[in-house]
Structures are given as C-alpha cells and as structure tokens.
Symmetry: D2
C-alpha cells in the first residue's frame, strides 16, 4: 500500500525545498516550523500546516525532519508536543538532520518502543541539491523500513545508500565531513605553500587537480579560493558544527582523529575574525594567516 | 633544428622506462647509471653507455636526469665528472627528480653561468606512467627552453604544465605532495572512524567517493586500504622523503604547514614498524593503531 | 557577623574530605549526596544530612558544591529541589566543581536574580590536597563576596587567587589544564625520543628537570612514567573531561588551541585501550604506541 | 697527570665566555675562530691564537669546540685543516655544540680511528650561564674520558650528567628541546585562552605557576610574554634549528613526535613576520595570531 501522507518538520534552507519536492511528487504534505511564517511558500504549493510536530506525525504515515543539531531532533521528536506524541504505531520517522549517531540511536529506541520505526538519513549536496532533488542520502535503520520509505526518499534525492542499523547514516555522514575537512586543509596548505614559494596557484591547481592528489575540493573550491570568492556553498560555522559532532563521536568511540581536530582549530581562526558565514574555502585565508599573509 | 641526441642519467624504477621511451621515440640516447648493470636492458634497445654524467652531457643536446634526492642531483650535475663538465654551451639539462626547489635553482644558476639551460621537471604518475609514457610533468625554467625541449618531454609524458621560472616545477610537485598526503590522512581518519563506530567502511567509501568529500585517494586507495591490500603504488618511504623536502621548503619560505607536518609524524608509525616499503594507503593502519586497533 | 552554617552538596573523592575539613574548622555543616550512604562518615563527624540540595541551602549561610560536570552543577543548583529553591537572599553559593565558564555565569545570573551570590571556585591539588586542606582555589565572582566567604575557603584550601568576575575562576582552571596537558605531552615525547635513540630516560629527566625545560610534570610524573607506575594522581578520563570543557570554551571564544586539541586525541589512544582510569602519566605509553612500542 | 693545554674552536656568544672561563681556571688556551677578530678579547686574557683548528688541536691535550650546527662541527673536526689533522693520539675532543647525534657519532668514529677520544657535550643555560660558568652539560662518550676531562668541564659549567655512549649527550639535549618547545606552547595557549575569555593572564600565571601545571617557562617567560617583553633569552631561530635536529633524529629513529612538529610550524608564524631573533616567549604572539589577535 503506497505511502500518501508525509509530514515535514523544519523548513530551513534545506527543509523547505525538500518539502516542496515532496509536494511536487504528489504526496499530501503536512508541515510544521518553529517560525510559522516559513511555511507560507509551502502552503501556496498545497501543504497543510500543523500546530506542532505531534500534529504533523498524527496526520502522516511518514514524518520527515530536517533541523539543525542533536538537541533540536531530541526536542521535535521526543519533547513536549513532539513527533512521538502523535505518531501511530506502524508509522515511520525519517530524520535528515546531521546529528550525533548516539542521539539518533536514542531517539530511534524511544520511538521503537512505541512501534514507530526511525531512519537516520542525513543528506549531502547542499541547498542546490535540496532544490534540484539530487541529494545523496545515507541511511541507517532497518532495511525493510528503508525499502518501504524509498518513494519518500526518491522524491528528495538521487543517490541512496543503506549503511546499516540505526545511527549508521549519521556515522557515514560524519566520516564524510572528516574527509571533506581534511581535503579542505590539503587544498589550503597546497595553495599557501605555492604562493609563498612564488608560483601561481592556478597553475598548481591545474596540475594537482589532474592527478593522484586531486579532490573535489581542489577541483571545485580551489579556483574560488584562489580568486578570493568566499561565497558560501557550505558555511564555515556549519562545518564547525559537524566537526563538533565528529569529536563527540570520536570521544564516544575512543577514536583519535588528530587531523580532524587540527582542521577544527584552524577554522576557529575564521570564526575569530567574524567569518563563520563564509564558505569553507575561506580556510585558505586561515592557513595564509598562519604565515602572516 | 630538431633535437636528436638525448642523454639520460639515473636508470632506476622511473628513469629506466623513461629512457626506453626516448629510444622508442627515435632519439639517439646515451645513458649512465651508478650501478652500471642497470644499463644493460637499454643497451639492448639501442642505447650507448657513457662512463660518467660528464660523458653523457658531452654526447647530448639535451641531458635528462632522474635520481633520488637533492644531493644526488647536486652530485650528478655539479660534482666531479658531473653533467656541468661535459655540457656544451647552448645545450639543455632537464632534471625529472623530485628535489628541493632551492637546490634546483642553485644547480640551474651554476649551469646557466656556463651557458647551459636547465629545466626542473618533476613527474607524477609512478612507474606505471613512466612505462606507458603518460607522466604528468611540471616544468620550471625558461619558457623558450621549455618549448624547445617539448619533443623530449613528449616522449616521456602526456601532460605538461609550464609553472614559471626555475624551481617552479619543484614547488608545484611539493604542493602536489602536500595535498596528496593530507588527502591520505582524510581517507584514513574516515575509514577508522567508520570502523570504530561499527559501520562497513566500503559503504562509506561508496557514498563519500560520490560527493564533495571525494578524492583520488578515497576512490583509488580507499578500497585497497579497506581490504588490507598494501602493495605499493607509491611507497611510504618515498612520501616521507617528499614530505621532508616540503618541510625544507616550508622552513625556507617561513610557511607553516601543520597538516603536512602531522601526516609526516603519523607515517613514522609505519616506518617504526618496518613498513616503509608499503604503499601509502597503509596510513590507514597507522591511524587505526592510534585507536589501539 | 561570622559565617556559622555551611552546606555541602556532592560528597565524592574531593567533596567528602572538603566537607570534613569544614566540620573540623568548626562550621555547622549540612550535607547532601545523590548516593546517600556517602554521607555516613560525615555524620559520624557531626554533619547533618538534608533531603535535597534545596534543604541544604535553606539551612546554610553559604552552600558549597563539588560535583562532576556542567550539567551536574546545573541540576543541583537550578534543577528541581535545587539550591536555588532553598537559598535565602543574601546567602552565598560556592561551586568548587570544574565546569564550563559559560555555565558558571548562567547559574550565577539565575541565583543573582534571587539575591543569592555565587562564586565559581574550582580547585587544584587532587584528593591529597582535599584531605590535607591545602588546595589551591581560583575564584571568580564579586570581590566582596570573595572576602566574605574567605573563612569557608580557608577551611578547605591554602592558596586563594581572586581572578575576576563570575566565570573567571573556571577560565583560569581551564588554562591550568591546557598548560598541564601540554606539559604532559612534552614529558611523553621527550621520554619516547630518548628511549628510541637508545639513551636512559632517567638520565634525561635528571638533566631536563634541572633546567629551562623543566616542569612539575617532568619532575613528578616523569620518574613514575619511566618506571611504569601508572597509579592515578589525576585520571586520564578526568583530564579528557576537562579538555572537553576547554574545547567548549575554545569554541565559544573562537580561540584556536591546536596543542590542547592534539593532546586530547593522543589521550584517546589510552581510552581506546581501556586505560581511562590510569594516571595521566600513562600518556607516555600513548606516545610510545605511536612509535610501535 | 693533569690537563694543562686546552684548545677552543668557535668564539661566538657561547664559545667566547666559555674560553674565557678556561683561561680564568688556569689552563693554557689556544683558540681559533673563523672571524679572527673575535679572538682579540681572549688574547687580552692570555690566549694564544692558532691559524686553523688543526693547529689548535696540535697544541692541546683537550680541544673544545662550540659552533652552530652539524655541518660546522663536521668541518672544524674533519674538514681541511680540521682538528683531526693536528690531534695527537691520546688527546681528547669535546664538542659543546648542539648537533645531530648521528653526526656526533660519525665524527667520534673518525677521530677514534686515529686514537682521539671525543665527548659530545652540549650545554644548557644560555650566554648568561656561559659567562657565569654555571652551564649544565650533558655528556656522551666514554665514561673514562668523561672522568679525565672533568676538570675542563668544571671550568665551564656547574652540572655534569654523563648520559651514555657517543651521541647520548646530543640525544638528551634534543629531548630537552622537545620538552622546552612544548612547554612554551603550553604557556602560549594558556595565556591566549585566558585573554580571549576575558581574564587577566597575570592572575592565571600566578595560580598555574604554583601548581601541577607549572613549568620553568610559565614561571620565567610567562610574565615577560604577558607584558610584551620579547628580548631574547633564547632566540626563535635557534629553537627552530634545534627542532630541525629533533626532526632529523625523529626520522632516523622512526619516532613520531606530533607535538614537537606542531610547535615547529607555529614558530614559523614568527619567522614569516621577521621575528626569528625574538625570544622564544614570542610564541604567545604566534598563538594569538591564530585567534586573529
């Protein structure tokens, strides 16, 4: 029996276009957002508005959320008026926020005790991917639930990888951020050394981007960093939030991650200069400032 | 007037196939190697053997070298019986070793004083690329000399980027190694966190390799690292040699590179365990050992 | 008018002997502990037991607490049945826990709104200093309140430094932990290099401990580390808790602390091996394990 | 039979006062310096001047040297006109420079083959200690030679620790620099966090300097750093030279030293700003600059 009614909690930069894509895909969508006015464009597209996350889940077979951080998921899922209060046994909850795997597991366990299945399903691809419906989605939870919810995921994204039991989607997302953060540092140190040694970094990016030291960051953010374009694809302060989650998981699993910890400290240089809302390619300025540039 | 006579000094894993490609391209090739027996396969292909680098350069319009490190270039170029002793004014010298930019400039200046032009032309692509003639070559020196020597370079590689004045090729190569080293650490920390958090790293590599945190290392060495295949594409001890050159240039240019310095220390863990001849993907074991695995 | 009635909340390894010293100094002491049985030895010394932190503060002119972490202080001070519910306007609250400066300020503000003055007063000196009454106490808050509460502090410690407004005591304690953590790493890297270079580390500690590279750690923990005595003065897991607070404050104040972040990662190696309850001198084993020893 | 004739090679900031102290102790002293004029003040004190290190050693039972770096020792000991050419079998050579343990061993072996015994005897205590004759001296070599040369060492220093066979003195000196460098970073991160969290760092140094996180650096250089006094006790560029030797030995012994490597990079920030001749306490400015201060 096909899913018809989908709820959406959290209509931010990511959530709003994801909910819009659910509407376009033909689902009946009920939404809720802390700041109610953000629901208006979705109402225009046919969404119904609920008065609380509990009302959203009461009206939905599958409720999706996309909020900022672990405590926000805790609140909208398990807090007063939360999803848990309205969700019927047999319904499902998909959280697309990037949060701590431990919190994802805790919320899943609480919902599971009431017969509600949860998938942790953080996304990658930014607001561009959210609008285009081309997000990559990493999913943790029960494989059958993943299969059942696939139509909902397909309305929002393009790539879906089932990673394992509850929390696995969040783990993979954090690994993604570890790799991305260090690839950023790689780009920044290469550019800084190149400049200080008197060579045009654009030449360097051309060569490096063609070989074994290449990365998405080198190819895509390197040229922007070199020409001083710091408009955000992904903001420094969001990377810092994710690296904080990485350190929480590093602590919980006793996993030393000296490289990720180093990037976190270097990005603080940007925050100290009020540049938390720059794109992550601004790391090149943080590394340059180490050299007094 | 086309170049006909090319010399080659240093017939190691890289140099031997590069010299063979020069022969295949129709050049008259004179070779020299410290260990004379390594010249035998090239003699079979038509090479002449000289008794010293000076004899090589005396017989050649362009002399190429590919040796291990800065002191080796210093020796074969400027030492007793070195290239400088035989090279005629107007001839050219192309060094394809990866060495210190400062040493490249010093050797270029010494040769320049005798009317011999030098290009620093480190290569990327490994022994596979050397055999196939598909190396990427980063070139520093005089642009006219680069143009003039292009037929020689074309016999050995496929991509040629002129990076700027003498030493620039080496600078770009070191930037390449900085980026590559940190991309390796990115791969290793992502795999280690994934494993310790209980998720299959193959799943993670699949997702990460498809998005903004991807890199050549994630895509090519990640799967080998995960299945414990540590056969060398590029050996740990060679990466360490290059990272030492990076630190020398970091010191000369007063460029702090904390990330590159960290990778250098982490790779020492492998050297301490006698694994210097493993491929660089073995860094995953170094990071895992931090976690007691 | 002299303070006579003092309350104490939190009778752990530090709190129990501190409360005992208050009794010995002649104060009337009312105590509360989550696990009630821990109050028994203090009852034997003359303490009264209350049923909640609120009952303690209702019975006391000055209430002292010594608990584990920021959320614990939040709970005993501001939670249900917390100190805030019983404390009379004009009474004072001294928190001797090591917690986040931001949480200290928040609790102080909440109490201040009810006319209750708070000092943040973390201590240094370990259980030995708590028993002997020789703790060093770093105090943040109002200078007059500090003066007024001095007799209470004098019963528990020997050195008192007033550091500035609310939160300043915690800031200074975190700075102390940053310095201590890096001094530990200094000791561990020196010992490891010494051993691997084939020299007796006891000789090294003798020389280094006498000169400009000396530290309390080198002099006191170095010899224990060298002879493999890992009995805790201060446990690895407590240092990790404090370094987590350091990173929280590093994030709030946008202060890059790459050294402190590195020590945190290296200590994880010990936690990964189940050695979180070893003394911090075990860091020498973490650094040695980097070298495969 | 008592030693009467002592030679001294290298009359720099350290060497000149050390040679003066040998004269004051009653030895007949023959000196040599690359820049001859630096010998004049010693001639006034009774020294004889030789035309080369070989002439010094030919005139001396024990020859002492104090030069800058490994290649300098190599040159004055083994180069043309070097100590080895003049030294009689049975005479001794004491090198007080801070150099690579491997080079110390190499020089000792070369001299040993001619029957000349060598001690590596790097010193600690700065120019103040050199003048006052209060240097701490760490000695590697043969224990009997150490005993025999003790009168010479006693004229120059106050503390003497025999560390083991040839090279051991240098190893211990490098361990000293590892510990000192990290203690410096400890001081700098503590001061920076303190300032950015709004607390007077002088208060912090007072407390920290009295407890388990104290160090010579905190007690002696901390107050100077806080008041912006960057006059050199020990210059940044000399610490960098020693940290380079540390990394060479780290590489030779496959010993990962991530902390020492990090300090090296942070000190480059000062070199990039032309502050290599500031005292090492200037590291506080390097860490502050990470925070944009």
């Amino acid at each position: 029996m096909a899913i018809e009614k989908v709820g959406f909690v959290g209509l931010g930069i990511m959530g709003a276009p994801m909910a819009a894509n659910l509407l376009k895909a033909g689902f009946e969508v009920t939404v809720w957002n802390r700041t109610a006015a953000r629901a208006d464009p979705l109402i225009a597209l046919g969404a119904r508005v609920a008065g609380s996350p509990a009302e959203v889940s009461a009206a939905s077979e599958v409720t999706v959320s996309c909020v900022s951080d672990s405590p926000d998921v805790d609140l909208v899922a398990l807090g007063p008026g939360g999803i848990i209060e309205g969700a019927a046994a047999g319904s499902a909850y998909i959280d697309c926020s990037t949060i701590s795997p431990a919190v994802a597991r805790k919320v899943a366990a609480a919902l599971g005790a009431k017969g509600v299945e949860m998938l942790d399903a953080p996304v990658s691809g930014g607001d561009v991917g959210a609008k285009a419906g081309t997000l990559a989605i990493m999913v943790g939870g029960d494989a059958d639930v993943f299969e059942r919810c696939l139509p909902v995921l397909q309305a929002m994204g393009k790539t879906f990888v089932f990673c394992g039991p509850s929390g696995s989607g969040q783990v993979v997302k954090l690994c993604n951020q570890v790799a991305g953060a260090l690839n950023l540092l790689a780009m920044a140190e290469a550019i800084t050394l190149c400049r200080r040694a008197g060579v045009d970094p654009a030449k360097m990016l051309e060569v490096v981007g063609a070989g074994a030291a290449s990365s998405w960051m080198i190819q895509n953010l390197g040229p922007r960093a070199v020409r001083g374009d710091f408009a955000p694809g992904f903001m420094v302060e969001l990377m810092q939030k994710d690296l904080r989650l990485v350190q929480e998981t590093s602590a919980e699993t006793a996993t030393p991650l000296p490289g990720a910890a180093l990037v976190q400290q270097i990005l603080r240089t940007l925050e100290a200069r009020g540049r938390g809302k720059d794109g992550t390619q601004a790391i090149v300025d943080a590394v340059a400032s180490l050299a007094g540039d």
